[in-house]
Symmetry: C2
Amino acid sequence: MSYTLKDIAKQANVSITAVSLVLNDKPCRISDEKKELIKQIAKENNYTPNINARSLVTKETKTFGLIIPDIENIFFSRLTKSIESYCRQAGYTLIIVNSNDEYEQDLYLIDLLLSRGIDGLFITFSTSAYKHEEELCAKLSELTIPYVLIDRFFNDFDCNKVYFDNTLGAYLATKYLIEQGHKRISCVVHSINSHSLAFRFDGYKKAMQEYGLEIKDDYIIKGNYHIESGYDAGDIIMRNNTTAVFVANDMMTLGLLKRLKEEGVRVPEDLSIVSYDNTLNDFIITLQLTSIEQNIANLGKKASDVMINLVQNKQSDFANICLEPKLVINNSVRNIVY
Amino acid sequence: MSYTLKDIAKQANVSITAVSLVLNDKPCRISDEKKELIKQIAKENNYTPNINARSLVTKETKTFGLIIPDIENIFFSRLTKSIESYCRQAGYTLIIVNSNDEYEQDLYLIDLLLSRGIDGLFITFSTSAYKHEEELCAKLSELTIPYVLIDRFFNDFDCNKVYFDNTLGAYLATKYLIEQGHKRISCVVHSINSHSLAFRFDGYKKAMQEYGLEIKDDYIIKGNYHIESGYDAGDIIMRNNTTAVFVANDMMTLGLLKRLKEEGVRVPEDLSIVSYDNTLNDFIITLQLTSIEQNIANLGKKASDVMINLVQNKQSDFANICLEPKLVINNSVRNIVY
């Protein structure tokens, strides 16, 4: 049995990508000492490169890869559709893989896509990747093809990225409630206090502080972006004496509306709501929600533009594109300015 | 420049897959005459097989491919999630591609996935493929890896397939309306009169005929499964003097509900509705729809089971699995039995 890249990687305690880069003399962030070790192991074991793998790496495939956390989530399925459509127009086929929001899968799928031959990689990494920032950044740094991070990124890691301004979105939502006369305002936000997931709480806080409004402890309700957590939030909101709530995603708003209906709480007469995503108004017949809208098609377009420029060598600096969400005003907020 | 499989295919006027099969002496449905021609062209042009492609075809990759028409459609994104999940459990990675519901893409993407190395192929082909039955069946017949058709298939083409009984679903929906006392019943169905898309109209017709009820011309309303066509159907239903309607998918029901609300028509007091898909009850707050439910997760599981049996050589005959939908009773139908 022949000795493979994987065997070398294991023995040298580095990634397969690292071994590939070193043996092909490509630029990478690996110490000279480690490089020497890798070459030595390869030599000692009579390693011969797999012609397959090498050929697939060097030739143009007119294909991009996309790693997303959850294809069933409407945000990601719309994003996928948009990227697929723009890349298709530019003559590229998109291969999609689903990480199941698992960090280990992010790493595995990067290698899988590389081994199948892609010209570029789009990735929205899993939420758990935030706990493995160093490892993932090292992996990405070693890539010899262009890659673009979408929607999620690490603050201190320079690379190509396209995302929405989540702080701004939450700020606009909360500010609108304040301008309509509300002073006691709850928020339902994600319970993970890190990176982009925390930005929406930051925006709420910024608006409240700007207007000198108090944020009591029980105004802050933690959820997980699923319907059930919005439903549960309803019980707290009905007891915390607030007149309005900013909900950080549409799924939680759906759950909240169910709970409120059960208790006969009317929107907006008894409680005002601003939601986030603006994906529900096709579905809810009785009410039109005021919400923060993110132009997902545009996110996909911008990411595709960046990638196509990269593979055509039309871009030298890292692209850092922050898209602005906007407030869409409907009838879920009551004006209580006297 | 070397002569490729593609060049031979072009000159012999056959598919690349056909050339590959013939030159590798694999079984295929190609005439001996054509086989001879292909070998002759290869010889004359000193064709040497690409080691890459051959290696990728013969070795196990632990990867399956999936071709779907529209990743943004909730039916397909749920199906994808289910297949991905079951294959993952069995140790296979799923590579997903989106055909944009275009027949030409079905053909192109089959070749693309083959060239990247997959052990098996899942496919839900585009609606336009029904107009190219012969060509697509020929293409599928030539495949040397297992494939499973999901949800859509050709009646006369023997292969592995997993799908729902659409005639039964529509029959159950219509029968329920009749049993609640309705005699004048509209249907909103897909306008394409072919194959699986027509089965839901067949089921409606079967129930109406079984109970000796008349189907007037204006009871049959054609739509395209999108919201707008359901909205437009509302105008016809308000004029055709029916007391109930069977709507063949949830998106059209959403549109219909919007139109009815605008005109003050109440459900179920003024009009009874049975829908299809049962995906809306998380979204609609004021009403719970009686609907036909298809267990999408189970569709994905069955398709995955078939594929895994195929690649493990545990199955010799073609699998032909027809899944039964079921009626979920809620409060969108009024009982008018006296």
